[in-house]
């Protein structure tokens, strides 16, 4: 393929050819074309715009990845620092303006593949310089990118800054689009004044786009100034620099003597790639994660699939983003009367991630020098809360930690600590900490819970911490969750859709299981949004945006960086016909009327996942739709769905008055129940305890039983240790502490496996049952009445007899002895025990 390229350039009345702030450049053989429009309100924008187009031709930007853009832009900024006039030579307002740096928009066309009849291109735009297309055929699909309407030009464009300190990688985002061109197609890369004129049909309305395009494309280089002057005089065009590159694609170069053969740009020059790899390795060596993330960019040079990052890179990007957010907050706050109120919360959010990072040392120092760091922790030696180790002199667990009868949280610091010499917290601060934890527990604020608890552990007030076992368990669960999801949770609380999705995808499946349903829903919303953004699909993007707006998780989404894009979408004509909002209203109406068929129909028109629906609506729609769908199927799985959905729909208190079960639903449910009983009754049995099945729903209650056992036993052992050192007691006490750290799901699964095996062996008379049960007498007998009392609210525990409770706990208490068995479940338990019988513990038991 060939193309003729015409460059049309003229300047605003205040400018001349030297001060004109537009720049354009192309290299047809390399397949690269660029037009930039320097900001008239900034200094030396002509220099900066020129640098940007030259840089694009030398090192084309090939991705909209935020870090790729930053890597690319930083190189251009280095060039600007060399070419821009020195500040020292300037005075007064000139210097002040130069200190602000320069800005420019940019639009580029990069040819990715050249065939005889077609070229494949990637378009990229920062701001309001545009690519305008006039196809050879019918005139349909005449692309206008990134702005499509004349009214879009009224908004301030996104510009590339010449100074890094003015660059916000979350805000300065480019829009990209891929398309192809055939012989006869014409393309114009134009700065805003001429682009607006063409899109507006030369003042005749947007319907006259093609005529306006023809008019500009038909201009000669010599006639361009006169044409522009006429447009200005007739007030059709504003007084601005006006530049356009007009490309006409041709099958061969025979018809136009000045046509040029087109090439393609698919990768950077080898030396650029090598320099980049070196930069990455150097950053890695000095453990500078921000520099790593930037040098890595979208990862293509490193053989990475776009959008998929290794944990190392994912972490580097997370650190870089956190650091960026703190820097931006500091920039916004440093000249305000109370910077602490702005920077403090942002810093605390990222403190754990950043404070030891090499790349964050400068910002940490700045925060310290400006008194913006969170007050340092009070104690220098953190005390583990519930995990005493053999090599650490374990504190004797006095009544402080577990005494149920005492107040949940002590609100006054103890006098024994009030005179501690190295105390860094005041009694008032200590009281605030304790009250803060109580408040966090009351409102179930996990973030606050963990933060305050950790602060308490580092302070003298830790000795005064009195938590009920439930509270202790809740805090520990929150800490485990926070630890497992250290990178993801902050972004779920406050992050862009892309950050949420990226952080979620980096988490292991195991860690992802810590997420709550509403957090998974949030990720799903974020994913819809980012995928629509990547696909540049306006309708899907608007739909995803609406879903976020209607979701209870809306406050967790940072959408400021997408405002420009969303404004474009909002202004697109297609959106006017987008029925998503009307369909949502239909759905809400159907729910209000309680008509299940209508609910299903309205939901399916929306083409959404259940997770996309706002929380409360989802609770009503999901079971209704599932029930109606399952009614039409005839399978065991459908039977299960029918029962679950029916129960969810008709037995949820809020729904009772809304939905009235019709006969056909009742009949189908009865049919499902009949089928699911009888021969395959055990399918819902998680394990058996003394030959009685333990159903799935009871597992959580059994966990409560175990939790209480640990609490009470731990307390009892503590008292014994207080009376005198005893090795066995200490070992058991430590073991309980460690058990507390295991995930409940893991414990339950393992216990059930052991339980099953024990019961199996026992049923065949191969285990000495009295001895097996007797072991627990010592440990559990005295605790049973209190266990009964404490776990009174757990329905499953209420249904168990004492012997069953003992059996459950027996396995739990001794589960660590079965570690080898669990690792080799192919063995029968009896065979495994035989192999182990030399071990003292096993002999003791059997």
């Amino acid at each position: 393929m060939f193309a003729t390229v015409k460059r049309l350039a003229y300047w605003k009345s205040e400018h001349d050819d030297k001060t004109c702030e537009d720049a354009s450049l192309f290299d047809a053989a390399a397949g690269l074309f660029a037009v930039a429009d320097g900001a008239g309100t900034a200094a030396f924008s002509n220099i900066w715009a020129r640098i940007i187009v030259e840089h694009f031709l030398a090192v084309p930007l090939m991705s909209d990845d935020r870090f790729e853009v930053e890597w690319w832009l930083r190189i251009a900024q280095e060039e600007y620092s060399k070419k821009a006039p020195p500040l020292a030579a300037m005075q007064g307002a000139a210097r002040k303006k130069a200190q602000e740096g320069s800005y420019t928009t940019l639009v580029t066309l990069r040819i990715c593949a050249v065939e005889r009849e077609r070229v494949q291109v990637d378009l990229c735009a920062f701001g309001d310089s545009c690519v305008l297309v006039c196809r050879a055929g019918s005139g349909e699909d005449n692309l206008r990118f990134p702005l499509e309407k004349a009214a879009d030009f009224a908004r301030g464009p996104i510009c590339l800054p010449s100074y890094l300190k003015r660059f916000d990688r979350n805000f300065t985002r480019c829009l990209v689009r891929s398309t192809s061109f055939a012989p006869g197609d014409r393309v114009m890369l134009a700065t805003d004044a001429v682009a607006k004129w063409v899109i507006g049909g030369g003042g005749q309305g947007e319907a006259c786009y093609q005529e306006a395009f023809e008019h500009v494309a038909g201009q000669t280089i010599e006639g361009w100034p006169d044409f522009i002057q006429q447009c200005r005089e007739s007030e059709q065009m504003v007084d601005d620099d006006v530049t356009a590159l007009v490309l006409t694609f041709e099958r061969d170069g025979a018809r136009a003597p000045d046509s040029q053969e087109l090439g393609a740009a698919i990768e950077h020059l080898r030396e650029v790639q090598e320099a980049r790899r070196r930069a990455f390795e150097e950053a890695k060596q000095r453990q500078d994660k921000e520099a790593m993330a930037i040098a890595y960019g979208d990862g293509r040079v490193f053989g990475n699939s776009v959008g998929q990052f290794s944990p190392e890179i994912a972490e580097a990007r997370a650190v870089a983003d956190a650091l960026h957010e703190v820097r931006q907050a500091l920039r916004g706050a440093i000249n305000t009367p109370d910077p602490q109120s702005i920077v403090g919360p942002i810093w605390r959010k990222h403190q754990a991630m950043l404070e030891r990072e090499v790349c964050a040392q400068e910002i940490v120092e700045s925060l310290r020098q400006n008194g913006l760091l969170t007050p340092p922790p009070a104690a220098q030696t953190p005390l583990p809360p519930f995990q005493p180790r053999a090599h650490v002199p374990a504190p004797v667990p006095g009544p402080a930690m577990l005494e149920r009868s005492r107040p949940a949280v002590a609100l006054t610091p103890s006098s024994e600590h009030s005179g501690v010499a190295n105390r860094l917290t005041t009694p008032q601060q200590e009281s605030q900490l304790l009250a803060g934890l109580q408040k966090a527990l009351e409102v179930n604020d996990e973030e606050q819970m963990v933060a305050v608890y950790e602060a308490i552990l580092r302070s003298p007030v830790r000795a005064n911490l009195l938590l009920t076992t439930e509270q202790e368990a809740r805090v520990q669960q929150a800490r485990q969750r926070a630890k497992a999801l250290v990178h993801l949770l902050p972004l779920l609380r406050n992050g862009t859709p892309e950050e949420k999705v990226t952080a979620f995808d980096y988490e292991s499946e195991e860690n992802q299981q810590w997420l709550k349903p509403e957090e998974l829903e949030q990720v799903s919303l974020a994913r819809n949004f980012t995928e629509a953004l990547k696909a540049n699909d306006d309708q899907e993007l608007w739909r995803a945006y609406q879903m976020i707006l209607h979701s209870p998780t809306r406050p967790t989404f940072l959408l400021t960086g997408y405002e420009s894009r969303l404004r474009q979408v909002q202004a697109s004509p297609e959106l006017a016909s987008l029925p998503v909002n009307a369909h949502l209203r239909d759905l809400e109406q159907a729910v209000g009327e309680g008509n299940l068929e209508q609910i299903r129909a309205a939901f399916e028109v929306l083409r959404l996942n259940f997770a996309d629906l706002p929380g409360q609506l989802r609770q009503r729609v999901e079971p209704a739709v599932k029930l109606v769908r399952a009614m039409e199927e005839d399978s065991r799985q459908a039977d299960e769905t029918v029962i679950q959905a029916y129960n969810a729909l008709f037995h949820v208190p809020g729904n009772r008055s809304r939905f009235v079960p019709e006969v056909q639903y009742q009949q189908r449910v009865q049919q499902a129940q009949r089928r699911l009983q009888a021969p395959e009754q055990s399918w819902r049995v998680y394990c058996t305890v003394n030959n009685r099945p333990v159903m799935m729903k009871r597992i959580g209650d059994l966990e409560a039983l175990r939790s209480w056992y640990v609490t009470l036993r731990y307390q009892e052992l503590g008292k014994r240790l207080g009376a005198g050192e005893d090795r066995a007691t200490r070992l058991e006490w430590e073991e309980l502490g460690e058990m507390k750290q295991d995930k409940p799901e893991k414990i339950l699964t393992e216990d059930c496996l052991i339980q099953e095996a024990l019961e199996g062996e026992n049923a065949q008379g191969k285990l000495n049952r009295p001895e097996f049960e007797g072991y627990l007498q010592d440990r559990v007998r005295g605790l049973l009445p209190r266990l009964r009392k404490e776990a009174a609210n757990a329905p499953a525990v209420q249904g168990l007899e004492d012997v069953e409770i003992r059996a459950v706990l027996e396995v739990f208490v001794r589960r660590r002895w079965f570690a080898g068995y669990l690792a080799q479940q192919g063995n029968h338990l009896r065979d495994w025990l035989k192999k182990q019988k030399k071990k003292a513990d096993i002999r003791e038991m059997y």
Partner: protein, 292 residues
């Protein structure tokens, strides 16, 4: 209408009316921007800061270190106190009713060096010395002759519009902390609104500031949004509607949604309100689109 930008060949006209009555001696409330400082001091500081900013934006630095200030705006600053209205610029420009930007830039009363904090690319906080020119000094005395001020502003605007018929119409910003003491300004304000160029009628925006910690009412669409106060309703009635072409821009400046038909009025404002209104009123000087 209201589509022209301010440019060197088609400059804009900005008339700033400053209430310099005795009550401007009182400090702003503690809880607002400028809290604890005298209103007259804060108005002078904000105005000088605004003029510095306007000049910087319209300055073209050249690589050899020289610079040019584009004459994209003509400015009049009038103070009103006791029973008179007088030009409020001090120093070499003292007594001048209307000045253009290059004149303003070249003739401050004084240039102070102030340190602004900046955060560099690594996150280090650095102090950058910034020249800060002073043109207006705080003054206070007597009553609030708002009618006389609007009368004078009307004369200036009319004169300017006649000599610049093709330009963006004159914009008048009135900063006051109290009711007029020389009569009802309604008729004068409406007369001012009749002055026009081909691009629209002259605009009158009002900023009412108060020493009390009261919530400001910004850009109301109806009187119902205002406190039950006669003076508030008066200011509403004399404030021009925000031109539709500027509404998006105002939303950007104000950081909030502005409804169509909103009036150019801030009631119970503080120092930040004055800055916001000045910035908005002079927006055509910076061009709606920064690329121009």
């Amino acid at each position: 209408m209201y589509e022209k930008n301010w440019g060197a060949s088609q400059p804009g006209c900005l008339i700033l009316l400053l209430d310099q009555s005795g009550s401007m001696e009182l400090p702003f409330g503690r809880g607002v921007a400028g809290g604890g400082r005298r209103k007259c001091d804060m108005v002078a500081t904000v105005l000088n800061g605004f003029l510095n900013e306007l000049i910087t934006i319209n300055t073209i630095p050249y690589p050899d270190g020289s610079m040019q200030v584009r004459p994209r705006a003509e400015i009049s600053v009038l103070g009103y106190q006791e029973n008179r209205v007088a030009p409020a610029l001090d120093g070499p420009l003292g007594g001048k009713v209307m000045v253009n930007l290059p004149e303003l830039a070249a003739n401050p009363v004084n240039i102070e060096m102030r340190n602004a904090k900046e955060v560099d690319e690594l996150g280090r906080v650095v102090e950058i010395p910034m020249p800060f020119s002073i043109w207006v000094l705080p003054k206070t005395a007597g009553g609030t002759p708002m009618c006389a001020a609007l009368q004078r502003a009307g004369e200036l605007a009319d004169q300017w519009a006649r000599s610049h018929p093709g330009n963006y119409p004159p914009v008048v910003v009135n900063v006051t902390d109290g009711a007029s003491t020389d009569g009802d300004p309604t008729a004068l304000a409406h007369a001012l609104g009749q002055i026009s160029t081909v691009d629209g009628q002259a605009l009158l925006y009002n900023v009412h500031i108060t020493e009390h910690n009261l919530p400001p009412v910004e850009y109301p669409v109806s009187e119902a949004e205002l406190p039950n106060d006669e003076f508030a309703r008066l200011l509403f009635s004399i404030s021009s509607p925000i031109p539709e072409t500027s509404r998006t821009l105002l939303e950007t400046v104000a950081g909030r949604r502005v409804s169509p038909g909103a009036r150019g009025l801030i009631f119970n404002g503080d120092a930040a309100s004055i800055q916001q209104m000045f910035t908005f009123a002079s927006a055509p000087a910076k061009a709606t689109n920064p690329n121009m």
